[in-house]
């Protein structure tokens, strides 16, 4: 082994492992969080596969079948025969896309307004600690519940029509936006608020003259990002309850008519809309949230 010529203080630092080899990272005070987390996740994964129920199907055959189905869906999308079965016309598909977008708009605007108010209450710098913590706790609980459960619960509680879907989607959206908004609010310079307060401005004046102008771009970016998520949710929820729209047609094509070609068309429509929305929201995020 190479004898090292080191100064005393340096030699004192060098560590060797059990076999006398030089260590390239210190055993003391090293950050073990990442390896530990990785290990836990790996163990859980192995455990999952060990106890998972794989069903009665022959996985190989099923995989082939799935590929064939995927082919029908992605490579042969069609509404009309020979592949499609004319369950839907382009008009109805377009109509229901518009409906889903309408639900998305309504949910997003509704939750943006409510979230703005809640976020004011949730921000530590604008509200009292007690109120802030209470709002944050409630919001965390709401956020923990999957959107689809909210929608199903509202469906039985309120009944029919788009209200249940809108409220269900909005609730989760509100929780998300409240968190994002209040984080934006908390980032604003406390001095500005203090300055306005010192000149005798009231709460709402401070909010609209200092807080809102200072954060509006971030709020808009978050709102748009949520718009994108809400669209996805509206599609998913449409499959189950309430508002119908493109999601319901997707569900019908899949579970009622078993026509993957028609599913394919609807999927492409969803992808197209999602692409467009994503393009905008990625831009906004780059511009106003990450770089700000």
């Amino acid at each position: 082994m190479a004898g090292m010529q080191l100064t005393q203080s340096a030699a004192a630092v060098v560590e060797r492992d059990a076999r006398g080899r030089l260590r390239t990272s210190s055993s003391k005070g090293a950050n073990r969080a990442i390896p530990i987390t990785l290990a836990v996740l790996a163990v859980l994964t192995v455990l999952t596969f060990a106890r998972m129920q794989y069903g009665a199907v022959d996985l190989g055959r099923a995989a082939l079948q799935a590929l064939a189905d995927a082919r029908a869906m992605f490579l042969q999308p069609a509404l009309d025969p020979p592949y499609g079965a004319s369950h839907f016309t382009w008009e109805t598909v377009a109509q229901s896309t518009v409906i889903t977008l309408a639900v998305t708009v309504v949910c997003t605007l509704l939750s943006a307004v409510v979230s703005f108010l809640l976020a004011l209450a949730a921000s530590e710098n604008l509200s009292s600690p007690a109120v802030s913590n209470a709002v944050k706790a409630v919001v965390a609980v709401i956020r923990a519940i999957p959107t689809i459960l909210w929608v199903l619960v509202f469906t039985v509680a309120i009944g029919l029509g788009s209200e249940a879907a809108v409220l269900g989607i909005s609730l989760h959206s509100i929780a998300y936006l409240t968190k994002s908004y209040s984080e934006s609010f908390e980032e604003i310079d406390g001095g500005v608020i203090e300055a306005l307060r010192a000149s005798g401005a009231g709460f709402w004046q401070t909010v609209f003259q200092a807080v809102l102008p200072g954060t509006i771009t971030k709020l808009l970016s978050w709102t748009f990002i949520r718009f994108e998520i809400n669209f996805t949710n509206a599609v998913a929820v449409g499959a189950f309850a309430g508002a119908g729209g493109i999601g319901f047609q997707l569900y019908q094509a899949g579970t009622r008519y078993y026509n993957l070609h028609e599913v394919g068309v609807i999927v492409y429509v969803c992808i197209l809309v999602a692409f467009a929305l994503e393009l905008v929201s990625v831009r906004l995020r780059r511009r106003y949230i990450i770089n700000d």
Binding site: V192, E194, A195, A198, S199, G200, A201, G202, Q205, P213
Partner: protein, 294 residues
């Protein structure tokens, strides 16, 4: 009835912080008495942590004082409720080290924020100012030399310009007194002088009293009518600039390691222009040195 009512009468003002931080010195401010007359220009000096900011903020109750009283125009404001405090705040303007402008709004809008205290919630929130208010805002901006920059966004202004917007914002409040917490600490010497000159001129012109926290002793001596020295939360000096001898400076900054003043070397006021005390004193340790420190 005819008895003289000072603009601001401060008696036994004190603030103590509790909590884990409060190990050694619980009192950030203790038993400060003073009186500010209308139109006076008072500088508060003292080492870092002496309680200058605490003193200033206790006056308009941005910090709640824990003892003592603040009487403004004959009215004890120490225990006013929030609502009533708003009216008092319109009369006591404030200027900050970091300008505290809303950066996404333009200069004129920031100036107009000074009027919010006079407006109802809705009009203020929507930014509905009267024509008179707007006209006055433009005048004041022009007065501090920023007429051309009215529509410039605040974040596009230089530090000195920002602070002058801050001055205009304070002036439009029609205040009786302006409290300034180290208004020039973030500025270069040239901008500092300009801001101090503007501040001094407009307050004298409008007959507004002014209390300025300063690190720069030379500026304090140059511009103010009266100087208050704080150390470890207590008032250790009060007097005219003429009375500020090197010994006084040493007493105020004594014990503060960063700001030991060599009394022999440092001449009488004014000290070298624009250079904070900490720099001047880096020269050496003089007569009143570390023995007195605590």
């Amino acid at each position: 009835m005819t008895q003289h009512v000072p603009l601001l009468k401060i008696t036994g003002l004190g603030k103590s912080y509790d909590g884990p931080r409060a190990t050694g010195q619980r009192h950030a401010l203790q038993g400060v008495d003073t009186t500010i007359e209308a139109g006076e220009f008072v500088a508060v000096i003292g080492p870092s942590g002496a309680g200058k900011s605490t003193f200033l903020r206790c006056i308009n109750r941005l910090i709640e004082p824990s003892e003592g009283s603040v009487v403004f125009e004959g009215r004890d404001i120490t225990h006013l409720r929030r609502g009533d405090l708003r009216a008092v705040h319109t009369k006591i303007a404030m200027i900050f080290q970091n300008y505290n402008l809303v950066y996404r709004l333009c200069a004129i809008q920031n100036v107009l924020h000074g009027r919010l205290g006079y407006k109802n919630a809705l009009a203020g929130a929507l930014g509905l100012y009267t024509e008179d208010e707007k006209a006055r805002a433009f005048e004041l901006l022009d007065e501090v030399g920023l007429g051309e920059f009215a529509y410039r966004r605040a974040d596009q202004l230089s530090g000195g310009q920002k602070q002058r917007v801050g001055i205009a914002r304070a002036l439009i409040q029609d205040p009786k007194i302006i409290l300034c917490d180290e208004p020039i600490a973030s500025l270069d010497p040239k901008s500092s002088r300009m801001v101090m000159e503007h501040l001094c001129r407009v307050t004298r012109q409008h007959g507004i009293a002014c209390v300025v926290n300063l690190h720069q002793v030379d500026f304090a001596l140059e511009f103010s009518d009266r100087i208050i020295g704080l150390r470890e939360g207590e008032k250790v000096f009060e007097g005219t600039p003429d009375e500020v001898t090197p010994q006084v400076i040493a007493r105020i900054y004594e014990g503060d390691e960063e700001a030991l003043v060599d009394v022999e070397v440092a001449g009488p006021a004014p000290l070298a222009s624009g250079v904070p005390v900490a720099d001047v004193s880096a020269v050496g340790v003089g007569a009143t040195a570390p023995g007195g420190a605590q």
